[in-house]
């Protein structure tokens, strides 16, 4: 790993000033992604500003019934929080389906949102990668694409965003609070990550010196009946081939509120707006679920050998909605 200098920030103002004033400085959270990338010589900051111990580690109830989650809350603490487990079970389940217990104890919520969108070739410095070296080409095209996306990818990059937590948060309409020397701004999570298009090296709309300080969840009545379903190559501790975060509110057999997002298939946590549109107000039947999945996957395209993901996504959406219908209609 290349040499760098390290600063531990006592408060948010000091942290954002330090990164703002120092070229090639980066914020350091739990380190589970950034330290790994630095060791592989993919990231090489000159200065790390440690924000992992900032006093942003609370989960607070908001007056409207929503939740405010501090950016340095550890992933494990978020998953175990009683309000998260009862009001937003999909969030707890998503966290617990990601990484390992060791990594969840280290990783922060802010860092989870900002882990790099990546594929095997991004990590392989012997291969070209438009994300690592803009303009150098994409080794995944024509290569191993089992983990590549089927929605939102471009000819420059087909990597997927690996977060499980983000899929649940984006389904629930989470808002990210960001701090910099220019003040505070609030960004809907669905707008935080960019699609790759011609600039896959730019993964989010954040400026280099902007620090995520909190994530807010609005009150979502449907969230009490929510679920995260992850399909992967082994039973635990693997990235998603496909994952579905879903929440359904039912009145009899009519869907009054639907939330749906997909993971493992796109360069960003993918809010399934088309599917939600079909579901809302419709009867909770197998036929409706099929139509919803088909609407979302209408523009899905296989990249090399990942065509199986289109059918797998369809089936996983339908299975998750079916499960929520049976549970949601319980007395």
């Amino acid at each position: 790993m290349r040499a760098f200098s390290y600063v531990s920030a006592p408060d948010v103002a000091t942290a954002v000033r330090a990164v703002s004033e120092t070229p090639n400085a980066k914020f350091l959270g739990g380190g589970t992604n950034l330290v790994d990338l630095m060791r592989e010589n993919i990231e090489h900051p000159d200065v790390l500003v440690d924000v992992s111990r900032l006093p942003l580690n609370g989960v607070e109830e908001l007056p409207d019934g929503g939740l405010r989650i501090g950016a340095t809350v550890r992933n494990s603490a978020l998953a175990a929080h009683p309000l998260v487990r009862t009001r937003y079970p999909v969030v707890s389940q998503a966290v617990l389906n990601g990484a390992s217990a060791q990594l969840r104890n280290m990783a922060t919520v802010g860092g989870n949102l900002l882990q790099r969108t990546r594929c095997l070739y991004f990590y392989d410095t012997a291969s070209p990668c438009n994300k690592r070296e803009p303009g150098s080409g994409c080794a995944a095209l024509g290569g191993f694409t089992r983990d590549a996306g089927i929605l939102g990818v471009s000819e420059r990059c087909v990597a997927t965003h690996p977060s499980d937590l983000c899929v649940a948060l984006v389904a629930l309409g989470a808002v990210v609070e960001v701090e910099s020397t220019r003040g505070t701004r609030r960004i809907p999570l669905t707008d935080l990550h960019r699609l790759p298009a011609d600039t896959p090296q730019r993964e989010t709309v954040l400026e280099r010196d902007e620090l995520i300080t909190a994530v807010e969840l609005p009150p979502v009545p449907a969230a009490a009946n929510s679920r995260y379903r992850k399909v992967r190559d082994r039973a635990s501790y693997a990235f998603a081939l496909v994952s579905v975060a879903a929440a359904l509110r039912l009145d009899g057999d009519t869907i009054t509120e639907a939330r749906l997002a997909l993971g493992g298939i796109a360069p960003k946590p993918w809010r399934a707006n088309e599917a939600e549109h079909v579901l809302t107000g419709a009867r909770a039947t197998e036929e409706t679920f099929d139509r919803a999945a088909a609407a979302e996957l209408d523009r899905a395209q296989a990249v090399g050998d990942n065509a199986f993901k289109i059918e797998l996504t369809r089936r996983t959406i339908v299975a998750t909605l079916r499960e929520l219908t049976h549970e949601g209609s319980r007395p």
Binding site: S5, L28, T32, S52, A80, S92, L96, N97, S100, A101
Partner: protein, 162 residues
């Protein structure tokens, strides 16, 4: 280079190391505590698992400087019934992953006791349930064993848990 104070197995040490040194390398190369193993060095195998204030972490992805004020426990500082249970149940073959498995198991038992759910745990009301083999396998999935001693590992942990 500033001196770094680290607390390991109840003793304080002053280390003159740059910030890129991982907690794992600080333990092994600078303190001579080679019981903690380096497997993948990228957070995938769990061989480097140690406890920080009782919580299990991967020492390979931890910068030592980030853990300066934490109480670190390595296999050298552990005297726990799980160790004999691993011997009784053949919870290892080559032994390379074992110190990580032991530290991870101790952290896991504490998490379970504190009500930490896992991906296979049901609704919050199901808390306090027995640590089933399915739960143990899920909760220990961050520790790989290339010899495949998983059956013995699950039995050993299950015996101590129950």
């Amino acid at each position: 280079m500033a001196e770094l104070r680290v607390r390991v197995n109840g003793a304080d040490h002053l280390l003159d190391i740059p910030p890129q040194v991982s907690l794992l390398d600080a333990l092994r190369e600078h303190l001579g505590l080679t019981g903690t193993k380096k497997g993948c060095d990228q957070g995938a195998c769990g061989a480097c698992t140690v406890l920080a204030d009782g919580e299990r972490i991967n020492a390979c992805l931890a910068l030592a400087v980030q853990y300066a004020d934490r109480e670190i426990t390595t296999i050298e500082g552990i005297d726990h019934p799980i160790q004999e249970a691993f011997v009784r149940h053949d919870g290892f073959q080559c032994g390379y992953c074992t110190s990580g498995q032991i530290c991870s198991a101790i952290g896991m038992l504490a998490e379970h006791k504190d009500g930490m759910p896992s991906a296979v745990t049901g609704e919050p009301s199901a808390e306090g349930e027995e640590l089933t083999d399915e739960e143990i396998r899920e909760r220990m999935s961050g520790n790989l064993c290339r010899c495949g001693a998983y059956h013995g590992i699950v039995e050993a942990i299950g015996e101590v848990a129950r």
